[in-house]
């Protein structure tokens, strides 16, 4: 597990190359749609089970249109598993009115809570996965800039994403060289060599930061990132992207009114 994590490329595995209506949308429209959809889902009362059905159908329809393979989405949904485990425990430890299921006493409110977390977490995570699978990182950054997210913040994110894989690979190489010299720790007090290599990685990263800063100065950087954006979203982009949150908001309103 550590091997797969340490040597794999975190950033490259995000985007799924395909031609689709979803891939082609302007990134800022997709970002707004994502946030609108997830917020609407989070605000929906847990008892409106049908509403979550609508959200699930809507977001999986988008997955289908985007040509992102279902197994890719499912595999990346694994990040919410820890909280699924937590959610499944709630009916057992929850208080209030109890119900008997197969001879086990479960909290009714606890079951609703479990449902609430599972439904909202999986819908939210699926929507995020659709965004990163259909939008390249540079385009996400462009979208954030167009949505007036502070430029400094977007630039910091950009540098992080640019150098993340490089650092992960460096750490992986350090780990490999340790394994090659038969260091295979199993206990916390044997962790020193690994932690030392993390310390060395920090020093290297900081020094790279300083060299990058010099490379920026050498090309006329004075402290503000230049504006490089040229092609904002069209009305068509906005109207297409709006369909997802629109469905969600209408569903939310109906769910709350009913």
């Amino acid at each position: 597990m550590s091997g797969a994590h340490a040597h794999g490329s975190a950033v490259d595995s995000l985007f799924v190359e395909a031609e689709s209506a979803v891939h082609g949308l302007a990134p800022e429209a997709k970002l707004v749609a994502l946030v609108g959809f997830v917020v609407a889902a989070a605000l929906t009362p847990r008892t409106s089970v049908w509403a979550f059905g609508v959200y699930a159908v809507a977001i999986w329809l988008v997955v289908f249109v985007s040509h992102v393979p279902v197994r890719v989405v499912l595999r990346r949904l694994a990040v919410i598993v820890p909280f699924v485990i937590f959610a499944v425990l709630i009916p057992f430890i929850g208080g209030g009115e109890q119900t008997q299921v197969l001879g086990v006493s479960l909290s009714v409110d606890g079951l609703w809570a479990m449902w609430n977390i599972l439904a909202k977490a999986s819908i939210g995570a699926t929507a995020s996965i659709v965004l990163s699978a259909t939008t390249r990182v540079p385009d996400v950054l462009t979208g954030l800039t167009r949505l007036r997210v502070p430029r400094v913040l977007v630039a910091i994110i950009a540098f992080m994403m640019r150098y993340l894989d490089l650092l992960v690979r460096q750490l992986g190489r350090m780990r490999t060289s340790m394994t090659a010299r038969c260091h295979d720790p199993r206990w916390l007090w044997q962790v020193k060599p690994i932690a030392s290599s993390a310390g060395a990685l920090f020093v290297r990263s900081y020094e790279r930061g300083e060299r990058v800063h010099q490379a920026m100065l050498a090309r006329g950087y004075t402290g503000t990132m230049p504006t490089l954006d040229r092609r904002p979203a069209t009305a068509v982009d906005w109207s297409r992207a709006a369909s997802l949150p629109l469905v969600a908001v209408v569903t939310l309103i109906v769910a709350v009114v009913l």
Binding site: V11, D12, R136, V137, P138, L141, A158, F159, M161, R162, Y163, D165, L166, R208, R211, V212, Q214, A215, M216, L217, A218, R219, G220, Y221, T222, P226, T227, L228, R230
Partner: protein, 247 residues
């Protein structure tokens, strides 16, 4: 004009907190359009010298003139436009999310924008034979591609002097040959720091050896490389079997 002469006189520099001078009185004259190799062992002061040419280290002693422009705090911006520095690790040079943004970074800082910027980026990438890479992420490029894009990031600022630090390091033979073809085709005055002596011989008619912060030799590359005593004295070595007089 796309190339400018370089004049360096009595350049001295000591890093804060250190006793030994990193540069101990460098004098150098380079004529417009010349390609000069800068040779020397590790720690000889080459990198310190290169950083001075771009105003990345503050001038302590001596003078640097590029064309008709004297290096000073006031005209740093213009100096940095005229001097294109390509650093050793291309991953330091290519910091933007896409090749397009990286090549646009310099000219955009100089105020170029809109269609003019677009055209400039496309033209510059075509110039270095990397037009097809425009929308790629820098970390997806091969070593040779990275190097050519790194050169494009400074060419887009229309420099008069190119300073390259170890441009052949980490390149495979084909990438190295393509780099040579590119550098030879560029009209700019070029200062090339390198440990790759055959590379220096192939593209630089003249070489300068820096050792201990001073210029210890300055002359035709072929002659310097044939002087085995001189090379040995400054920890420079030719590859096994390489004879500079027979190339």
């Amino acid at each position: 004009m796309s190339c400018a002469p370089l004049s360096v006189s009595q350049l001295r520099f000591t890093y804060p907190g250190e006793h030994h001078a990193a540069l101990d009185g460098i004098d150098l004259e380079v004529t417009a359009g010349e390609r000069v190799a800068l040779l020397g062992p590790n720690g000889s002061g080459k990198t310190t010298f290169v950083m001075h040419l771009n105003g990345l280290l503050e001038l302590q002693n001596g003078a640097i003139t590029i064309g008709d422009l004297v290096m000073s705090e006031d005209n740093l911006r213009e100096i940095r436009r005229r001097v294109g520095a390509v650093f050793q690790d291309a991953d330091d040079q290519l910091f933007m999310p896409t090749v397009r943004d990286d090549v646009a970074f310099g000219p955009a800082n100089l105020g170029v924008a809109g269609d003019e910027l677009d055209r400039l980026v496309v033209e510059t990438l075509e110039r270095v034979g990397a037009g097809a890479l425009i929308d790629r992420s820098p970390h997806h490029l091969s070593g040779g591609e990275k190097r050519r894009v790194a050169i494009a990031t400074v060419l887009s600022m229309s420099p008069h002097l190119l300073v390259l630090d170890e441009p052949t390091s980490g390149l495979d033979p084909a990438g190295r040959r393509e780099l040579i073809d590119l550098l030879v085709s560029l009209p700019q005055t070029q200062m090339i720091v390198t440990h790759d002596l055959p590379f220096a011989l192939q593209i630089c008619p003249r070489s300068v050896i820096i050792s201990g912060g001073r210029v210890v030799a300055d002359g035709p590359t072929r002659e310097l490389l044939a002087d085995t005593a001189l090379l040995a004295q400054h920890r420079l070595e030719l590859p096994f079997g390489f004879d500079p007089t027979r190339v």
